[in-house]
């Protein structure tokens, strides 16, 4: 597969995630859209990792593990973010019984 396919696929997923963040009001869905963005990144990282592996193989070298490990770390971070993020959303819900971000407008000016 030409790498450009993966780039386009990944950017498409990423942009869908952005559109989701822009169009939805439910904080949980927005968060899920961010997860989608992160997964798009992961996919592209793995594809690039494979690409660099192939490129290095021609010279008899091994490369590309770093990309996959980065994905692993992104998953770690994502898990941490989810635990904190859902806690915050639940806290918000406990107070205003809604997860609609449009209600987050006490702070302005």
């Amino acid at each position: 597969m030409p790498i450009i396919y993966y780039i386009i696929l990944s950017i498409a997923l990423f942009s869908i995630g952005i559109v989701g963040v822009l169009t939805r009001r439910n904080a949980i869905i927005i968060f899920m859209c961010v997860e989608l963005m992160l997964n798009a990144v992961n996919l592209l990282l793995v594809a690039f990792s494979k690409m660099h592996y192939n490129a290095a193989l021609k010279d008899g070298l091994v490369a590309g593990a770093d990309g996959q490990l980065f994905v692993f770390f992104i998953m770690v971070v994502a898990a941490a973010e989810v635990s904190v993020g859902l806690a915050i959303i639940v806290m918000m819900y406990r107070n205003i019984h809604s997860v609609d971000v449009n209600f987050l407008n006490r702070l302005k000016h």
Partner: protein, 639 residues
């Protein structure tokens, strides 16, 4: 005492110590002690300044570097003082007049609570410290530090009596106008750094004169830098269009007006231009601009002063006008004359302000001259010294003002008779409003309340002694600059300052007018001024310019038919003019301009606030759109 110049750091150090002691311990100290510390520190500075001056007079001058303030690669700004003819004269003026005003303040501010008394002296000492830094610094950055410092102290002192909201506004106005000037100054500094990679006077002024392959500044650079510096000067020295803060600054205590808003801080702009005189000499366009701005300010402020009834406001506009005079001198390339006038002006204007303070003190805080009159009977010393001040500022021969003013006018005549004419007219206006002020305040009958009349008294010695000293200085101060047409080679100030302006003089060339012309010019101005003085004296002592006096004036109407005529053809138009300038120029044009900037900022602020809607979605959308825009430009337009 091999080289007193190495002790130069003591000069600003004493006021700094005074500031710290008074500022930190003001609750523990009592008033006399605060006064002694406050005044004593300035006296100590004055003594060191005097020793330095004597040394400089013997030909010593030096740049003393203490430590490296900023250094980045090959660029460095040392914390250094430059002691030469120009700075030593300013040191004497600042510490000398400053000391007198400190002494005066011990009595004038005596009714304040101890804590405020201490605060006042702390600010005043801090001001002197900053002013000394401004004058002594060996580069533009140190000057800028002092420059900001004096602005800050002025701000604090104008707002000293914070109980009145309008004082607050005045402090703000002063601050903002000064900031506008400072802005230009700072940009000029960076322009200089960009060109010379140094801010030391020695390096910059040397670079300015380099020609040929070594040329550093193009004509455009020079003009740009000098104009920006001049804008800085207009802010601090209250010139058009940034002058309106100075009359408002009279909200501060009177000694502050005398020290900061008459004798020292407002002359910082003149010092700056005199310091960088070569830059200005090399850009004739800027010199012309300065000439006309100075002239216009002198005239405008003088006309406005005609109509003022607040004793301090008259003096304030008079200060603006005299500062315009100094800029006129700078514009004609007469740097020495400008410094000369700074000096004499420091004496007589400080005297006048302190005298007015004495009057206000006696009148129990009343500042309206319509409610005064006849004070000469009650306050002999104040009356006499004030009169000397008026005579000096009017330019009566024999007093200091005459010499410096005459020198400026002579230089104006060399440049153009038109400028001379306007300058002379302004001088006549000055004489007129000063004697209107004097006559209304000190002559005639007392028009205040009975209670006030009962309390009228001469001020205590701490007030009168500085008045007397300043009066003596106002008389003899001019004799350091006896013009050549009276006695050849007697202009000792000229010869003293010649090293500072030597290069400028070579470039500008010596344009002398014949002695007979000078005699004639001096004669004309003297005669006209004396006529105006006598006219104003008789007119306002008999018929003070007040509404209450109309009945009294009516009685005299027939006898003074001539007076009526004068009234119609001279005084009324003049007063109309004054009113016009006050109303139209100042309130609409200049204040409008300055307020407009403020309103614009406020408007922008309100509009920007709307974007901050509080909605996450909108924020992210704006972020995404910005990203989109940058990407689009980067990838499709920037190739």
């Amino acid at each position: 005492m091999s080289n007193i110049l190495t002790l130069a750091y003591l000069v600003p150090l004493f006021p700094l110590i005074g500031f710290l002691v008074n500022g930190l311990l003001r609750k523990q100290l009592n008033k006399p002690l605060i006064g002694i510390i406050g005044s004593g520190s300035i006296l100590a500075s004055f003594i060191v300044s005097l020793l330095i001056f004597l040394q400089v007079k013997n030909g010593a001058s030096d740049v003393i570097t203490y430590f490296n303030f900023i250094s980045v690669g090959d660029f460095s700004i040392p914390f250094a003082f430059q002691i030469d003819q120009l700075s030593s004269i300013f040191l004497l003026i600042i510490t000398g007049v400053g000391f007198l005003i400190h002494v005066y303040s011990t009595s004038y501010m005596h009714e304040e609570k101890t804590e405020h008394f201490g605060r006042y002296f702390a600010y005043l000492n801090l001001f002197v410290f900053s002013m000394l830094l401004l004058v002594m610094g060996a580069n533009y950055v140190i000057m800028f530090i002092g420059w900001e410092g004096v602005g800050l102290c002025s701000y604090l002192l104008i707002g000293f009596w914070f109980k009145k909201p309008e004082y607050n506004k005045a402090a703000n106005k002063a601050f903002i106008m000064n900031r506008i000037g400072d802005l230009a100054f700072l940009i000029a500094i960076f322009w200089i750094i960009g060109k010379v990679n140094s801010v030391g006077y020695t390096e910059v002024l040397a670079a300015a004169q380099a020609t040929g392959d070594a040329q550093v500044f193009s004509a455009f650079d020079l003009t740009g830098i000098t104009i920006l510096l001049f804008i800085g000067a207009t802010g601090k020295s209250a010139q058009i269009p940034l002058y309106t803060w100075l009359p408002d600054a009279m909200a501060g205590p009177t000694p502050v007006s005398a020290l900061i808003h008459a004798a020292t801080m407002v002359t910082a702009g003149i010092y700056m231009i005199a310091r960088s005189n070569i830059l200005y000499t090399l850009s004739p366009l800027t010199l012309d601009i300065i000439t006309w701005i100075g002239l216009a300010t002198a005239l405008l402020a003088a006309t406005i002063a005609l109509k003022q009834n607040d004793i301090k406001k008259v003096l304030a506009y008079s200060t603006v006008s005299q500062l315009g005079y100094m800029f006129l001198a700078l514009g004609t390339g007469a740097y020495v004359a400008a410094v000369f006038h700074v000096m004499t002006h420091a004496f007589f204007k400080a005297l006048l302000f302190l005298g007015s303070g004495s009057v206000i003190h006696a009148m129990g805080g009343e500042q309206d001259i319509r409610k005064m009159g006849g004070l000469s009977k009650h306050m002999k010393v104040t009356n006499f010294t004030f009169l000397i001040g008026c005579l000096a500022i009017a330019g009566i021969p024999g007093l200091s003002g005459f010499f410096s003013k005459d020198e400026i006018l002579a230089n104006a005549f060399i440049k153009s008779p038109v400028i001379y004419g306007i300058g002379l007219f302004t001088a006549l206006l000055t004489a007129f409003y000063m004697f209107r002020l004097y006559a209304t305040t000190f002559l005639g009958k007392f028009r205040g309340t009975h209670e006030q009349e009962h309390h009228l008294h001469e001020s205590p010695a701490a007030i009168t002694i500085p008045l007397i000293v300043l009066a003596v200085l106002s008389v003899v101060g001019g004799y350091v600059g006896i013009p050549a047409f009276i006695k050849e080679g007697a202009h000792s100030l000229n010869s003293f300052l010649s090293p500072v302006v030597a290069e400028s003089n070579t470039i500008l060339g010596e344009h002398h007018i014949s002695h007979s012309t000078e005699w004639m010019l001096a004669g004309i101005s003297t005669v006209l001024i004396i006529i105006v003085v006598i006219f104003a004296w008789t007119k306002f002592s008999k018929r003070p310019d007040t509404e209450e006096a109309t009945g009294f004036g009516k009685v005299l109407a027939d006898k003074w038919y001539v007076d009526e005529l004068y009234e119609k053809i001279i005084v009324n138009p003049l007063e109309k003019l004054g009113g016009f300038f006050n109303r139209v120029m100042e309130t609409s044009v200049i204040d409008g301009l300055v307020n407009g900037v403020g309103r614009l900022v406020n408007y922008g602020s309100r509009q920007l606030r709307l974007i901050q809607s509080g909605q996450v979605g909108n924020y992210v959308l704006l972020m995404v759109l910005s990203m989109l825009l940058i990407f689009a430009i980067q990838f499709f337009l920037r190739k």
